[in-house]
Symmetry: C2
Subunit: 340 residues, 2 copies
Amino acid sequence: MIRPGAPTLEDVARAAQVSTATVSRCLNSPERVVEATRLRVLAAVDRLGYSPNFGARALAARRTDTIGAIIPTMENSIFARGIQAFQEELRAHKLTLLIASSSYRPDQEADQIRTLTARGAAGFLLIGHDRNSEIYSFLKRQGVPVLVAWVYDPNNPQPSIGFDNRSSMRALAARVIELGHRDIAMISAGQAFNDRARDRVSGVRDAMELSGLEPQSLRLMETTYGIESGADAFSALMAAETRPTVVMCGNDVLAAGALKRARQMKLRVPEDISITGFDDIELARLLEPALTTVHVPHREMGRQAARMLVDMVEGGAPQASIELQTTLQMRDTLGPPRTV
Amino acid sequence: MIRPGAPTLEDVARAAQVSTATVSRCLNSPERVVEATRLRVLAAVDRLGYSPNFGARALAARRTDTIGAIIPTMENSIFARGIQAFQEELRAHKLTLLIASSSYRPDQEADQIRTLTARGAAGFLLIGHDRNSEIYSFLKRQGVPVLVAWVYDPNNPQPSIGFDNRSSMRALAARVIELGHRDIAMISAGQAFNDRARDRVSGVRDAMELSGLEPQSLRLMETTYGIESGADAFSALMAAETRPTVVMCGNDVLAAGALKRARQMKLRVPEDISITGFDDIELARLLEPALTTVHVPHREMGRQAARMLVDMVEGGAPQASIELQTTLQMRDTLGPPRTV
DNA sequence: AAGGAGAATGTAAGCGCTTGCAAAAAGAAT
DNA sequence: ATTCTTTTTGCAAGCGCTTACATTCTCCTT
């Protein structure tokens, strides 16, 4: 795991007959070097195939220009669009983004945070508030600011940018109830260490309560993330004596699984059973019938998150959380219940 | 972009009343430190929230334990599964993977290669052979080995692991022709700097030639990557005087777009028009009707790629390319042509 | 109790880079 | 020409860490 021969600044300096300081300046503030010299140096850089050593540079300059982000999964596009926008905006600020994924596991997330910190992350974008307080204190001691995304919680002192998962889901559930559904089931991702999942469940219960339904009557199925999990949870729900008339899913991936299984079971959607999602990923429009879901402004969130985090890292000024609005995306998987 | 207060090895050493060498040993080869000392040191590490500085460590140890991978896109799951397996296998070898994406652009890929090299990548996984030779010579001068994946080309001296895109597509096209299709259209990703796309087109032409069809009669539509692009290309193809009876797509994402547009145009698949894909990503099974495509053993490829690359980085022994087999995944979007 | 082997720890050099300061070179003004 | 600026370049310290080597401490052996 060694790179013995890689050329160094000194090699370039020797080849160009200048000092290492001059080479360094050529690379970092070219205007401070007269053209003749600069050309000579850059030629040497090219000829030798020189590549600066980031570690050494960061060490000497005490600056890394690096931001870290840890997302629960890269396997699907739930976070892809937002992170893409985040990265683009960071690049405009000449910052590099280091991405890692945690597979929805708190321990892995903690690991990745340490790894990226070691590698110079000067600020972090993390998803959701829920995590061990040790991580926050570690980051505080390291002097690394954290911005939480995909949620908005004005009551949490930790700055965040995102949307109100609870009220968003409440709005969708209200629409569901308005259509006449009384027997509601829900497939949720694991609620431990996942405030988004919890809030979405609460949102459904809120709506039930507001409409005079018994919140406890919600048939809740908790499962791991993934299409197959969603499908299996759907089967379990449908195995009940009296079937629900609607299955609300905590996200589009679970909904895709539910929909797939519904088709396998020859159930017509939405005539026999309604299904809803959350996130509005690209997949939602491709499914047949197209998925009714909650649209989240991912790109906007990513872009604004980058700006906020840059401010936090540079200015150190405490940032106020920002709330983004979601919208109901009515498509074809939600209809009135069969017998109303 | 500074982290002023972050504790250093020296801070820990002082707190634990030992030398920095001992702290370093505690962290890297704990068995060389007597337990009493070790406990004291680790306690100090914990108390201070110490995190090692990767750059400094790499500098001193002349070792980075880091591998880089550059994939064309993270936006969809074409590469996700393979890279996931790749990463898991690397982790088993105590190596960290740094991932970057190039948006299918050679210049961005070159950039990312330089960036990750600077950050210590001791080996690279790259997709496909096609790239500027300068990049290869740069990497050679840096002493960084490269493994090419997602393709298998025994004629290329560069070691690779993957499958034969050309013969895989030929097999699918042969099946298409066997079903009676004579009027074949194809939607391909851009062929410039993309040997996979080129090979897949060649594969279709091969099959046509073998069956006595004129390869030049293939109606080829080249487009950028993405669902919408696939949909638009499909529209363009269908605007022709005499419509093709089958549209073969260079990958599943384009096929998803084509299928979506076909539905919008009220065409029945496969009765009115057949559509095929390539890759067999998760989406292929979710589409309605489910997509006929070529299955690629992504996980296997990722795992084996990791093993090969580790060998290359450690042993330096030149590796022989490995071929993996694809299989036809017949599902529901391919049928006989309408009038046969 | 002395000597020696082996284990535990410390000392200090140096990895490749940036940057404050000083020196040298190049113009500008007299 | 001479002096004064201003620009361009070099010198050298030091960023946080690992590791070869030197030193000290333990614990046997005799």
